[in-house]
């Protein structure tokens, strides 16, 4: 073959560059479309709900009059449920992930478990609701409480945390593990001093993504029987109860509750259009909660990764 002349080389490069530019433009277009949709949604809710963004909206209970109705029981309920969810799902998920990566023998049993974790992640959330109604609400007698809701959502996000933990562990080079074992460490010491700390940024990201998913879940919470209209808060630990007694440290977990998405759903199903303003405002607040959680995840990951270099 004859070597190309300079002109020919330039022509080849120009053709390549044209495709480069086209692809870049396409990519920006797709990205802009996605961003546009999300920004439009948020702005729409913010504008529609703007007249409700007062302190009262956050401090009032639900009400029959739209202008006086607030989201106090909903945001408190959401936060408490998330707290229980995290408390249950994080230790379970991390322990399961560490076991699968560091301890489990590679045999057919492990394979079956691995495939089923992937399946669990694909189970529709309403099915978790049905399961939880049977087990937590009736069998264990937890009732239609924050505890039941928290545990239900914990089941829902468990696969996300397990997968995140495993991915984070796999990113740790084998030579770190070998370096630890080579001085005579046990597997547990290796996990405790190295594997879990170094996997932490990835695990935390998974936890927060899981919680962000859980906070928006409606179907399983309705299934286990969250109230749609509630005008009191769960009893804070060690405060006086209306009946004269004092609330125990954990009384709040058995209290009835509602959460943000249920409150929003409730308002959108009212005939009075004034409630749509409330729904939009609450939707914006929920969105802000999710975005704040994601921001927290990014910040934590950045902070923790700074010191972890191989």
């Amino acid at each position: 073959m004859k070597p190309l002349t300079t002109e020919e080389i330039r022509a080849v490069i120009a053709r390549g560059k044209l495709k480069d530019t086209l692809f870049k433009a396409l990519g920006i277009l797709c990205l802009a479309f996605g961003l546009f949709v999300i920004v439009a949604l948020i702005l729409d809710m913010a504008i529609k709900g703007s007249e409700r963004f007062t302190l009262d909206f956050f401090l009032n209970f639900a009400s029959r009059r739209a202008a006086q109705a607030g989201i106090l029981s909903a945001w408190v309920g959401s936060l408490l449920v998330m707290f229980v969810t995290a408390l249950a799902a994080v230790p379970l998920g991390v322990a399961a992930g560490v076991y699968l990566e560091e301890y489990a023998p590679r045999n057919w049993m492990t394979q079956v478990i691995e495939i089923n974790i992937a399946n669990l992640a694909a189970v529709p959330s309403i099915v978790y609701g049905l399961l939880a109604l049977g087990i937590f609400v009736y069998q264990f007698g937890f009732g239609q409480s924050i505890l039941s809701a928290g545990l239900t959502l914990a089941l829902l996000i468990l696969p996300i945390i397990i997968v995140a933990t495993r991915e984070a562990i796999r990113a740790i080079p084998a030579m770190i593990r070998e370096g630890s074992m080579a001085v005579g460490a046990t597997r547990w010491q290796t996990c405790r001093y190295h594997i879990i700390p170094y996997a932490m940024p990835g695990i935390l990201t998974g936890v927060i993504i899981g919680l962000a998913r859980a906070i928006g879940e409606t179907a399983p919470i309705i299934t286990i029987g969250a109230l749609t209209f509630i005008a009191f808060l769960p009893p804070a630990p060690l405060t006086a109860l209306p009946d004269g007694g004092t609330a125990g440290l954990f009384d709040w977990v058995t209290a009835p509750f509602t959460v943000m998405p249920i409150q929003i759903f409730n308002w959108t199903s009212r005939p009075d259009p004034a409630f749509e303003i409330n729904a939009a405002a609450a939707g914006f607040v929920l969105m802000a909660m999710v975005l704040a959680m994601n921001a927290l995840a990014i910040w934590l990951r950045y902070r923790m990764r700074k010191n972890i270099k191989w």
Binding site: P173, M175, S180, A182, V183, G184, Y193, H194, I308
Partner: protein, 261 residues
Amino acid sequence: MPNNTTQERLKAEARGLNFFYNGGIQALKNINMPIYDNRVTALIGPSGCGKSTYLRSFNRMHDLYPGNRYEGEIRFYPDDTNLLAPEVDPIEVRMRVGMVFQKPNPFPKSIYENVAYGLRVRGERNRRMLDDKVEHALRGAALWDEVKDRLQDLASNLSGGQQQRLCIARALATDPELLLFDEPTSALDPIATGAIEELVHELKKRVTILIVTHNMQQAARVSDYTAYMFLGEMIEFGKTDEIFIKPKDRRTEDYITGRMG
């Protein structure tokens, strides 16, 4: 084996050692070889001949991965235990046999914590004791003067050669009886390499050393004994001077003179 080694004391001895990787591939074939106390033994041979596999048998590193299988024995002295015996806990073996890897692998923690790790694993909590041993190990690895004012800095901020000496300090901190080096200088520049070689020479007063190297000059410079491996077999073992001056086996000669490998 040369006769004039009779005054040497044995530290370890491989007897009929075979090793099979997971798939059943036999990587070591009937290896018999002595390792002498307070001497440096170099392992040389072409890539893929089984040097690392052999080295990693001494601290049971292969036990970390499922399906690997040893046959034969590695006797360890003075107590004459078989390191490979199933009833011997690999963790106990690793507490007596230290290892330095090809690529420096410090933990993403402080310099201090890297060196103290082996002691912490052994349950040492006494701060004074830890400080002393960390200093002693860093001096032993010829790193103390460079890092004594920044013990709490991250180990990853050290240069490659310093990181490798840190890994040596990590292994030294727990006073191993045998120290394994797998091509410890292959990722380093000539100056850092020189520092490590000098260190190996110094260390043999305290500890027996088994070192894999691809560099003939290095083997000749640092070792007292040399073993030549080829395709999983131990072809020749002897005093380093004799191996390099008049090897008995044709294959050893070809390798050393650069006709092969």
